[in-house]
């Protein structure tokens, strides 16, 4: 019995030593990966782009039933408000009919004036229309995963929009999937202008549902309800795409509510916006200054 006890202790000791070795080995690998991230290596980003391709089929499989159950729950929750909502929709419909007539007249007028002045076409075609199949980032980042990748012509740093406004930009592109950094992410900075005054500023993400407007010109006037559009500066986003609306002004903190429906994103468009011709991008020097 005693011999057996000594043997058990030996096995346990050897197992414990092996476990400690494994712990430190894997911890070393994890720290090396973090060092690659901290010192700005692009390798982890490339690996991540293609790793999502492997999980995309599974996510696509789950995504359908989840959307269906969400829609069912929303329908159930909406039954109680259906009469009130119906009344509101009728009123809104009346207002929209009037706006439709005005919009049609303005479109015709705009087309005629554009032809007279020979204004270049500003319509930006989509590279791909994609479905959101996953969210990412945990508590630290705001990103979503699309089921379109380099196989569909998607490139890094293309703007992504939904029917209401700007959603974000592509940051990691695999063959089947693309990760989009949302405009609410802490690392997101969108050059914007106020629609009412044309004052330019930067809309910053806060990792929260709201964004913050910063670097406004001194003495510029901002009001709650002002619409914020992309300014087109920086060549990352096309001009005049709705970004957000001012919802609160306290001292120098201006909070914005994104125009796009980030809470219920479903389908989005990746825009084919590349203002700089390829030869200019290729001849950029390492410090980012164009030759």
């Amino acid at each position: 019995m005693q011999t057996s006890g000594v043997g058990d202790r030996g096995v346990r000791f050897r197992r414990g030593a092996r476990g400690r070795d494994a712990f430190w080995l894997y911890m070393g690998i994890a720290l090396a990966m973090l060092a690659l991230e901290i010192f700005g290596s692009g390798i982890p980003r490339q690996i991540r782009g293609y790793a999502n391709d492997f999980v995309a089929p599974v996510l696509s499989l789950f995504e359908g039933p989840i959307r269906a159950s969400q829609a069912g729950l929303e329908r159930l929750a909406g039954v109680g408000d259906i009469y009130l909502e119906n009344q509101q929709l009728r009123e809104e419909n009346d207002r929209l009919r009037q706006w439709r007539v005005a919009a049609q007249r303005l479109i015709l007028e705009n087309e005629r004036l554009s032809q007279i002045l020979k204004v270049p076409e500003r319509e930006i075609p989509p590279v791909a229309t994609a479905n959101i199949i996953g969210v990412g980032g945990g508590a630290f980042e705001r990103s979503v995963l699309l089921n379109a990748g380099s196989g569909d012509g998607v490139l890094v740093n293309l703007p992504v929009v939904d029917e209401l406004g700007l959603v974000g930009r592509t940051i990691e592109v695999g063959y089947l999937t693309t990760r989009v950094l949302l405009i609410t992410d802490l690392n997101s900075r969108v050059p914007v202008r106020l629609e009412r005054t044309n004052a330019v500023a930067i809309a910053e993400g806060l990792n929260e549902p709201f964004m913050r407007l910063r670097f406004m010109p001194v003495n510029s006037s901002v009001q709650v309800g002002d619409r914020i559009l992309t300014s087109g500066h920086g060549s990352l986003y096309p001009p005049d795409v709705p970004v957000a609306q001012v919802v609160s002004i306290e001292d120098d903190i201006i909070l914005l509510k994104p125009s796009s429906s980030l809470d219920t994103l479903d389908f989005v468009r990746v825009m084919d916006y590349r203002p700089l011709p390829p030869e200019v991008v290729e001849t950029e020097d390492p410090e980012g200054q164009t030759n």
């Binding site: 096995v11 982890p44 999502n52 996510l59 989840i66 969210v135 802490l186 806060l206 929260e208 994103l265």
Partner: protein, 168 residues
């Protein structure tokens, strides 16, 4: 102490269940469940699974399995590589060192131990993210995720318990 016959090699396909269930939960963490706020505060299901399996079947969740699940989670979530690996390796280290203090106690004790461990691990992940991004990140989001993860422990552990009794 679990005997050698409870290791993966002796249990065949059933022994892979903890790893496979953890991978499935990792994929669930990616799904666009609920509204945006639900997405922001998705519970860390993999941490719950690792804690559960390490508390009940430690030999079926070795360091290599924690490393593999953590790496895939980092890749899939799009967070810096290493964050979830470190969290899951520390989960195993914590459970193996503290299991003797709470093994056999009631479920409430397991829940409290998990919450305390998760608080510590989310704190470490916050420090890592601050170091990687070079900024002091807001603690609100991480605190919310800790709360959601802590409250999610009981139902997730209940389901994992049913699975364990059914298969293992």
């Amino acid at each position: 102490m679990a005997g050698p016959r409870q290791g993966i090699a002796f249990m065949g396909l059933a022994g892979l269940m903890p790893l496979l269930v953890s991978l499935l939960l990792a994929m669930l963490m990616l799904l666009p469940l609920g509204s945006g706020i639900a997405g922001y505060a998705m519970p860390h299901l993999v941490m719950i699974a690792c804690f559960y399996w390490l508390s009940w079947r430690p030999l079926l969740m070795p360091y290599g399995a924690c490393m593999a699940v953590g790496l895939l989670l980092d890749l899939w979530l799009g967070v810096p590589l290493g964050v979830n690996i470190i969290m899951l390796l520390l989960t195993r280290l914590f459970v193996l060192n503290q299991l003797k203090h709470y093994k056999g106690k009631n479920r409430g004790v397991y829940w409290a131990v998990f919450s305390a461990m998760a608080f510590m691990l989310f704190g470490i992940s916050w420090l890592i993210m601050c170091a990687v991004t070079g900024t002091i990140l807001s603690v609100d989001a991480i605190f919310l995720q800790w709360l959601v993860t802590s409250f999610s422990y009981a139902p997730v552990a209940f389901i994992l318990g049913r699975l364990r009794r059914w298969i293992l």
